[in-house]
Amino acid sequence: MKNILTIDNLHASVHDKEIIKGLNLTINSGEVHVIMGPNGAGKSTLSSCILSNKQYVKTAGRITFCGEDITHATTDVIARKGVFLSHQLPEEIEGISVFNFLKTAKSKIDGKNVYSTDFRKELMPIMSSLDMSESVLDRDLNVSFSGGEKKKCEILQLMALRPTLAILDEADSGLDTDAVKAVSKGIEMFRGEDNALLIITHSMKLLQHIPATHVHVFIDGKIVKSGDSRLAEQIDMRGYEGYKGENG
């Protein structure tokens, strides 16, 4: 077992408003962590902060990835080290095909040339497991994609780029039952002993398919309770009300 991610007393703000208020988290290889919390708790801020989104300022604390301090590394460097973020709202980029984008990303992350024909072949089985048509590769990145298509496209990238840590920010929102199945199948295929998952969600949909090893309740910028998968079930039944008090 290897340490993948350690977040130590992280504080982060946007426009001088503190959103993350002293967060601690340790993730080891082979683990699946789930962060649950009500809307507006700052869950997405956390994923943005791990990837050094410039919109947020880290005011205190430390983030290490595989033993390296990445607190102040730039987004691209963190990505190249092996952190992947499946975005809650993937951006639409006009004029750049999914394939060219993915090929560029692959060559940046692997640090070597990627050959179109080989790479396309490599993507075929991934796409069919996600129930995606090959023609998606030639469309402009996320442009006019449905919510479900965007999420599938994120998982396609996850599977093609094979990171060490995958952060999935609301990967199941806006998906119908079949799409949730396809997405969770992809995540399940990715999961292994050498990597780890951090799933950020406010729903239980994905968790019915992916067994969580750790569940954290995230309220008002902090983790207020941690436990195993039973914690998720409790929240599913009772909601977050009981935890809001704990945060005072």
Binding site: N53, D76, I93, G95, A105, Q157
Partner: protein, 454 residues
């Protein structure tokens, strides 16, 4: 862009400034007939009479007294690259022109400063009656044909810099495509302004006869000097009944250039005029290609992009006048600005009362790469036909931080992420260019974005 000066030998460089003596001298050295000199002298009078434009970017820094209007390289025109002097050929080899000619062009012209140094056309086109030669030769070899069209599309009186152009014009290309002939591979003319403190005033005249078709490509560049240069070319295009002309341009001027170019097409019945335009470089550009749809069912489409960086002001746009019935125009314009550069889309759509059932669609999209750059859209519409369909869409926006973050989260450096977004933004235009030019345009975009981050 080649920044190194190859220091060619010049046979003759005119005095700086503009006088009757200089104009007469240019004409004498070219051995022109009197009718040509008469046009030059009449234009010179117009130049003195017309005032500077009172709108658009300031031209205060431009002083014609500092500009040599005629610079003749020490080489006559050749039809074989091997005979072109090494130092001049080097420049064109670096620009990839001879290779492009071998690979995908039906003919090539190459102008160095004021004179065309190379011109060649494939045999099979000659046998079909296609004429492709430099403009000076056309004046001598096809005087009747030239006289019939020269100055008929763009008159001397159009504006001050056209008057200047006609006074000192030199070089350029002449193309005639006979009735029904389809030129399947493009013809390309390349204009290189190499000498400092000089002007380039090439004249391009293209006639696509009834039912014929042509794709003409124009490339322009200049090395960097500290002094200002002036480009005031003129392009006159005639597309006859049922003909099709595509005119593609990639201009990559150095950033000391005043680019005051005039391009206009007269489009007859059922004819199609397509403009594809990429404007890079220059200090100031004022460039407004124009189609006049004189015939019924004539169509025109303009697809253009401009990119202004630090110290640049690119004022471009498309003008169309609908005269014939059921005429149609479509405009896709995109602009990029960074480092305090300014882009302006200045367009005109005029639909005359005679142009019943006509339609025009204009779409302008402007992307600013930082907070200090500027972008403006000044569309003028003058719709005089009651049943015309006209729509204009304009968008001005800043490059999205969210999009940059998205791409960076996939391992792209900030500069690569920006370049990818910009390339994507430019893709509707680069898709319309021949592959080699699309590659060149992407290279220019990367060059423009290089070194701005980290």
């Amino acid at each position: 862009m080649i920044t190194k000066d190859n220091s060619p030998d010049y046979e003759y460089v005119s005095q700086k400034g503009l006088t009757r003596e200089i104009v007469e001298d240019i004409s004498r050295r070219k051995g022109e007939e009197k009718w040509v000199l008469d046009i030059r002298l009449k234009a010179l009078e117009m130049y003195y009479a017309l005032s500077m434009p009172t709108w658009g970017p300031s031209l205060e820094e431009l002083n014609i007294d500092d500009i040599a209007t005629y610079v003749k390289p020490a080489s006559s025109m050749k039809d074989n690259w091997d005979e072109v002097p090494e130092n001049i050929k080097d420049t064109f080899v670096k620009l990839g022109i001879p290779k492009a000619e071998r690979d995908y062009l039906a003919g090539v012209g190459a102008q160095y400063d004021s004179e065309v140094v190379y011109h060649n056309i494939k045999e099979e086109l000659l046998s079909q009656g296609v004429i492709y030669t430099d403009f000076d030769s056309a004046l001598v070899e096809y005087p009747d044909l030239v006289k019939q069209y020269f100055t008929k599309c763009v008159p001397l009186t159009e504006h001050k810099f056209i008057a200047l152009h006609y006074a000192v014009f030199s070089g350029g290309s002449f193309v005639y495509v006979p009735r029904g002939v389809h030129v399947t591979m493009p013809l390309q003319s390349y204009f290189r302004l190499n000498s400092p403190e000089s002007g380039q005033f090439e004249h391009t005249l293209i006639i696509v006869d009834e039912g014929a078709s042509l794709h003409f490509i124009e490339g322009c560049s200049a090395p960097k000097y500290n002094k200002f240069n002036l480009h005031a070319g003129c392009v006159e295009l005639f597309v006859k009944k049922g003909g099709t002309l595509r005119y593609s341009t990639v201009e990559n001027w150095s950033k000391n250039m005043f680019n005051l170019n005039t391009k206009k097409a007269i489009v007859e019945e059922d004819a199609v005029m397509e403009w594809v335009s990429g404007s890079f470089g220059s200090h100031i550009s004022m460039l407004y290609p124009m189609s006049i749809l004189v015939g019924d069912r004539a169509r025109t489409e303009y697809t253009g992009i401009s990119f202004a960086g630090e110290g640049q002001n690119l004022d471009t746009g498309f003008k169309v006048i609908h005269v014939g019935k059921d005429t149609n125009s479509v405009v896709h314009s995109r602009s990029l600005s960074k480092g305090g550069g300014k882009t302006t889309y200045r367009g005109l759509v005029r639909i005359m009362p005679s142009a019943t059932h006509s339609s025009s669609f204009v779409d302008c999209d402007n992307l600013m790469l930082d907070d200090i750059s500027k972008s403006d859209t000044i569309p003028v519409s003058d719709i005089r036909s009651s049943d015309a369909t006209f729509s204009h869409e304009a968008k001005v926006g800043k490059i999205s931080d969210k999009a940059i973050f998205y791409l960076m989260s996939r391992g792209l450096m900030e500069s690569d992420a920006k370049a990818m977004i910009v390339r994507g933004f430019a893709s509707p235009i680069s898709k319309e260019l021949p592959l080699e030019y699309a590659v060149e345009m992407n290279r220019l975009i990367n060059l423009e974005l290089e070194g701005e981050i980290q």
